[in-house]
């Protein structure tokens, strides 16, 4: 490998003028540095440690002299360049870095695949795990604050129906007297068939959904579903999950171009939907348990979803929806009911309260 007295032609720039000075370059006797013989400038002895590699290609090496970085040496001799890295042990880092850079496209693609797998594992497993742990550390009062920013916002109660609100709260307290004081129903005069819960325990029910109900068990089904959302802190979980997912994505997306950002962003939305479907299922199943504990016929919940299915008769594929498709929903509910039989009792009080509510609604 080593040819004694190996000499290369170099171009030297003195950092004062752009004119190239021609010269020759060789290694010193101890092979610890270079000896440069440059026209007009004379002889320069520079140890390797005083040189910085500015650019390294097979046919092109640029070195700068540390004491004055604008003095540079250009070498185009491949044999000399090769020898330089044989003798120069102080360039270990450059060597290591250069080796990876020149490991070839196959290695780089393998590394890229490794990065993708690592990011995917982080995104699908590690981040959700951390997000769940984070929720356990966050006190419930934060959920309350989060919900109150909505439920106590100035125009929130504009469409509220105060008489129905009173009746529904009475219904809920009669149905499940043991539940926490945080739960409070507000009935909105809105024909949209909808009901939802906020993290602070506020449950919003539209008159639209009340109009569609025929039996008190359906109302009990909706309430137990919404109460379960709050009990399981689904709002907070979704938020924590979403924020942490976004933090990771922004870290990665910083590096990625516009089009990719759109792809990943949309994929993230859909993934969030899958998470939300998981929560819906959880709320359905623990809602059923709540009904079971109070000896209420769980069939009401199934009737409710059948009604909702008729109401939203546009077929959206499940992966595009925040809720499970009703058919599948009805199936797993029926399975649950079979597995956990309910000791159904008469609920005259709930029934009469429901009739009263229906009277209010139909007026």
């Amino acid at each position: 490998m080593f040819k004694p007295g190996i000499v290369a032609d170099v171009r030297y720039y003195n950092g004062v003028i752009a004119k190239p000075f021609k010269g020759e370059c060789t290694f010193n006797d101890k092979l610890t540095g270079l000896i440069l013989t440059i026209e007009e400038e004379g002889v320069l002895q520079i140890p390797f440690s005083e040189l910085t590699i500015k650019r390294r290609e097979k046919l092109y090496l640029v070195l700068s002299i540390n004491s004055q970085s604008s003095r540079i040496v250009e070498i185009n001799d491949p044999a000399f360049i090769h020898a330089y890295f044989q003798f120069n042990k102080s360039g270990a880092y450059e060597n290591w870095y250069y080796k990876i850079l020149h490991a070839g496209i196959a290695v780089h693609l393998a590394l890229a695949a490794g990065i993708l797998a690592f990011c995917a594992a982080t995104y699908f497993y590690f981040i959700p795990f951390l997000a769940e742990k984070a929720v356990d550390l966050i006190p419930r009062s934060v959920d309350d604050q989060l919900g109150q920013t909505v439920s106590e916002s100035p125009n929130f109660n504009d469409d509220a129906d105060s008489a129905l609100t009173v009746e529904l709260n009475l219904f809920m307290r009669t149905m499940a007297p043991e539940i926490d004081a945080r739960y409070h129903i507000t009935v909105m005069n809105d024909d949209l068939v909808n009901a939802f819960a906020l993290p602070d325990g506020s449950i919003i029910i539209n008159t639209g959904i009340l109009k569609k109900m025929n039996r008190f068990e359906e109302l009990a089904g909706v309430l137990s579903h919404e109460i379960s959302h709050v009990e399981h802190r689904h709002g907070m979980r979704l938020l924590s999950r979403n924020v942490s997912g976004y933090l990771l994505l922004t870290l990665v997306l910083n590096d990625v171009n516009g089009l990719m950002t759109v792809f990943i962003d949309n994929a993230h939305q859909f993934h969030t939907l899958s998470y939300s479907r998981k929560f819906e299922k959880e709320a359905d199943i623990s809602g059923l348990a709540l009904l079971r504990n109070h000896n209420i016929n769980p069939q009401g919940m199934i009737d409710l979803f059948k009604m909702l299915e008729k109401e939203h008769d546009i077929d959206i594929p499940e992966w595009m929806s925040s809720h499970p498709v009703s058919k599948e929903r009805i199936q797993y509910l029926q399975k649950q009911i079979k597995e956990h039989p309910v000791n159904i009792k008469e609920h005259h009080l709930l029934k009469s309260k429901f009739d009263k509510i229906k009277n209010f609604v139909s007026e």
């Binding site: 003028i17 752009a18 640029v62 970085s69 604008s70 780089h108 590394l111 890229a112 990065i115 089009l259």
Partner: protein
């Protein structure tokens, strides 16, 4: 007049300066991959070093008159700038949040928008100053000689006219800022000069906008070509009596091919082909710039000081400004 003619008789003969980009997508891909790995393991803190590596590669792969350019900014410099930039951003955003919490949204918005407005010209100034001082060719540094105060005043004057003209003055603003910034760039003892005119730029944009609408977007490529040509063709370099002119030979069809192929690479590689897009774009751009003149590049002399504050560079990154003007 006679003296000038007399001098030009003694000037060097005209020549065409070779100018090209010799980087490859494969090499750049390697750099990007190593950078991403290191960024992941340092939770993003490697970012300034990664950026230095990428710029060093791109500059070093650009060849002018048989010699390469060099970017000699370092990760450490840019890391300091990165931290300063983070603090400034935290102040602006923190002030905004504090005002929101204290129920003073108007004050918050003024602080937020005002804060970014005030730092914008400072960012542009700082990023040029740093980037130019860290760029060299045959050891001769570039430099930015613009004055921060002067540029800030110009920026707000132009911004004021743009706002009261409901944006119409925007073309003049862009060109006046560009004239200022580019004409303050030094290449050792040589000086760049940009001589664009807002009126011309306005007509070009107006034409581009309406023809793009009429042709359902197809004219966009020709508009892009016009913008590129306007940038390149108005740029000159002066040294003593010598002068170098830049001339673009790009056509609308060239841009059409470039952008469509880039888009296809992007879609079919799901973005992983980005390094190839970048390198082929640079190859394209540099191959379409013809540099002709009579400056003897060997006679360029070191004149510019070093400047190590990278805050502007990092902030322009965070706001995704790139090189705005």
């Amino acid at each position: 007049m006679e003296i000038i003619e007399h001098k030009s008789l003694h000037a060097n003969p005209e020549k065409v300066y070779p100018f090209s980009f010799v980087g490859t997508g494969g090499a750049y891909f390697g750099i990007a991959i190593v950078n991403i790995i290191l960024k992941i393991f340092t939770l993003g803190l490697y970012y300034p070093w990664a950026k230095a590596k990428e710029l060093q590669y791109l500059y070093g792969a650009t060849s002018f008159d048989e010699s390469r350019f060099e970017f000699h900014g370092t990760g450490a410099e840019m890391f300091k700038g990165f931290i300063k930039a983070l603090i400034i951003f935290a102040l602006i955003i923190g002030g905004f949040i504090a005002a929101m919490v204290m129920q003073m949204p108007i004050l918050g918005f003024i602080w937020y928008i005002g804060g970014f407005m005030i730092i914008l010209p400072i960012i542009i100034h700082g990023s040029y100053k740093y980037r130019m001082s860290r760029t060299s060719w045959r050891g001769i540094r570039f430099g930015y000689r613009g004055d921060r105060k002067e540029f800030t005043i110009l920026f707000f004057k132009e911004l004021f006219f743009t706002i009261i003209s409901l944006g119409i003055y925007g073309s003049w603003m862009a060109i006046n800022l560009r004239n200022y910034v580019l004409s303050n760039i030094r290449f050792g003892s040589a000086e760049f000069k940009y001589s664009g005119r807002g009126g011309e730029y306005f007509v070009l944009n107006l034409k581009g906008y309406f023809l793009t609408l009429i042709t359902l977007g197809i004219y966009m490529f020709w508009w892009q070509k016009d913008l590129f040509n306007y940038y390149i063709n108005n740029l000159t370099l002066h040294h003593k009596e010598g002068k170098i002119r830049l001339k673009s030979t790009a056509s609308g069809g060239d841009f059409f091919g470039l952008i469509i192929v880039n888009l296809l690479i992007m879609i079919f590689t799901l973005g992983i082909g980005y390094p190839w897009i970048l390198t082929r774009t640079l190859k394209f751009i540099f191959s379409k710039i013809e540099i002709v003149g009579n400056i003897d590049t060997d006679q360029l002399v070191q004149t510019e000081k070093e400047y190590t504050d990278a805050t502007g560079e990092d902030m322009s990154d965070m706001l995704d400004l790139g090189f705005v003007i």
